[in-house]
Amino acid sequence: MTDPAALSAVRFRGVSRHFGATRAVDGVDLDIAPGAFFAMLGPSGSGKTTCLRLIAGFEQPDAGSIEIFGAPMTGVPPYRRSVNTVFQDYALFPHMTVGANVAYGPMVRGVPRAEREARARELLALVALSGFEDRRPAQLSGGQRQRVALARALINEPKVLLLDEPLGALDLKLREQMQVELKSLQRRLGITFVFVTHDQSEALSMADRIAVFNEGRIVQVGAPDEVYERPQTRFVADFVGGSNVVEPDAAERLGLPRGLYSLRPEKIRLGEIGFAGTVETTLYQGAQRRVVVAVGSDRLAVVAPAERGPLPVGSAVRLFVPPGAAHRMEG
């Protein structure tokens, strides 16, 4: 791992951060490639924010080491790291105008006024907020505040941009729009983005690499399709997209070699052949229906296209599991 060509943007080695008895981050190893759009995905309290704060320098590890582009970060304060953060609550300075907020980074570095104001205008144009320089943060909508926070964090040209649940406070439509914009912004700038989310669909659609967190540890790292299609543990299978976890006994009943499997609901076909079962619950989701089918003593979630028609509770169906649909897991 000392190959200089494989220099990581962010590297964790055995990093732990404990708060009393809470192991917020517990022995994490992590390599984030330069230019990656990296997602930290996990349930609330799994240590994602603490990891981000360790990178930003707001927390110091109790054990282990952190490097940013090869430079050890031990004892380096936040203001000397080429890392910037988009905070979950945006943390815009309420007593400053939007222009002054964005120009804050260059201002504290002593960049002359005319130059930093021009630069702030550029950044505001980048996030499609030209002409908002003289407003106060309180006069902006949630989406606009978020763009200001983004412009403010990007003005210092950080090597790594950290985003903590950047879209959490936005409504659905705005969130989808910002997902696309963030993604294209990252591609244009080529900066390493590390973003935290508890929303698996957001992580899958935006990131090119995902680390799944559980209880302060990383349980799996991989490309989105890898994490989605080939979960390594029961937790990942369940958390990333609610896959069926097939226990060894049930696997035998489904005609699989004995073992623990993940079986994606959309891979099971409802049709004329296969195992006979009864619909237990049905959930209409617009383009599709998610139904839980009882097959003997086992329960399987199945996703059926909506045009297949209603699947009333209690109706008899047949399930077909195509060969290779089930993915064998480690534990």
């Binding site: 936040p78 953060t85 300075f93 007593h95 980074g105 504290v108 964090a153």
Partner: protein, 266 residues
């Protein structure tokens, strides 16, 4: 509409009367024609005491000293109180609670204890009484007022603002100057005004730390003992009420949307 029971309303009115009637009497007797004793009702009314007060150099000297003491003590309190608040609100250091208690203590201690303590300290250290001995005495309780206002505001200020500032490259001092201080400004203004008002009418601590000098409240106290030109004292008292009441009112409005005004009760 929900009206309070009659008994309660009478009690409230009596309470207000009890609090404010003496104040009204002060204003009333500033206009009386009888200068040796207070009799009710005043035998006649005149404005001459305002002119007399205006022409007395001892009043001007006392007023000047009081203003200078209050201004200096407030300035000291603003600096030290803010620094103490910043240290206590933002960090979790060892002994933090004890430090908080030590800062609050001077306002809880009876003024007479503070006064005696300072006087013994001055005489032990052989420090002669001066303008500065009074200022130090007043600063002990002014700091508390500023500290309480600043701490309350800092608690309400989002911690992520400080982190955002550091994140963008500002060191501790720049963060304090560009982010923390502007957030604090109205709280400090309010704290400063209260501190000024407290210092301006302080008697007890001043008695122990002033030596031969006369602040305005001390002047009034000594003047009351002499049965001559008494209404002049009332004129001055009315002015003191105005000078101390206005800042307290302003401080109340400045901090109304948020934290309560701390230390009003001194």
């Amino acid at each position: 509409m929900n009206r309070a029971p009659l008994g309660l309303r009478i009690a409230a009115a009596a309470g207000l009367l009890f609090l404010h009637l003496p104040l009204a009497l002060i204003f009333l007797y500033a206009f009386t024609t009888e200068e040796r004793s207070y009799q009710f009702p005043p035998p006649g009314y005149t404005l001459e005491w305002f002119a007399v007060a205006w022409n007395r150099p001892d009043i001007w000297a006392a007023l000047g000293l009081s203003v200078r003491v209050a201004a200096t003590a407030t300035a000291i309190a603003l600096v030290l109180g803010t620094l103490a608040a910043a240290a206590v609100a933002r960090s979790r250091f060892f002994g933090r609670d004890s430090v908080t208690l030590l800062i609050i203590l001077p306002i809880a201690l009876p003024g007479i204890v503070t006064g005696i303590a300072l006087r013994s300290a001055y005489s032990l250290a052989d420090i002669p009484f001066s303008f500065w001995t009074i200022v130090v005495g007043h600063a002990t309780f002014c700091i508390v007022v500023v500290y309480n206002n600043a701490v309350a505001r800092l608690r309400r200020t989002s911690g992520s603002l400080v982190e955002a500032s550091m994140d963008l490259g500002a060191d501790g001092f720049q963060t304090f100057r560009h982010v923390v201080l502007p957030q604090l400004s109205t709280a400090l203004l309010a704290g400063g005004m209260l501190a000024f008002a407290l210092s301006f009418d302080e008697v007890i601590v001043t008695t122990f730390t002033a030596g031969q000098q006369t602040t305005l409240p001390i002047w009034m106290l000594s003047e009351l003992i002499r049965p001559r030109q008494r209404p002049v004292t009332n004129v001055v008292a009315a002015m003191v009420i105005a000078v101390t009441f206005l800042p307290i009112l302003a401080a109340y409005y400045l901090t109304r949307d948020g934290d309560r005004i701390a230390g009003q009760g001194k």
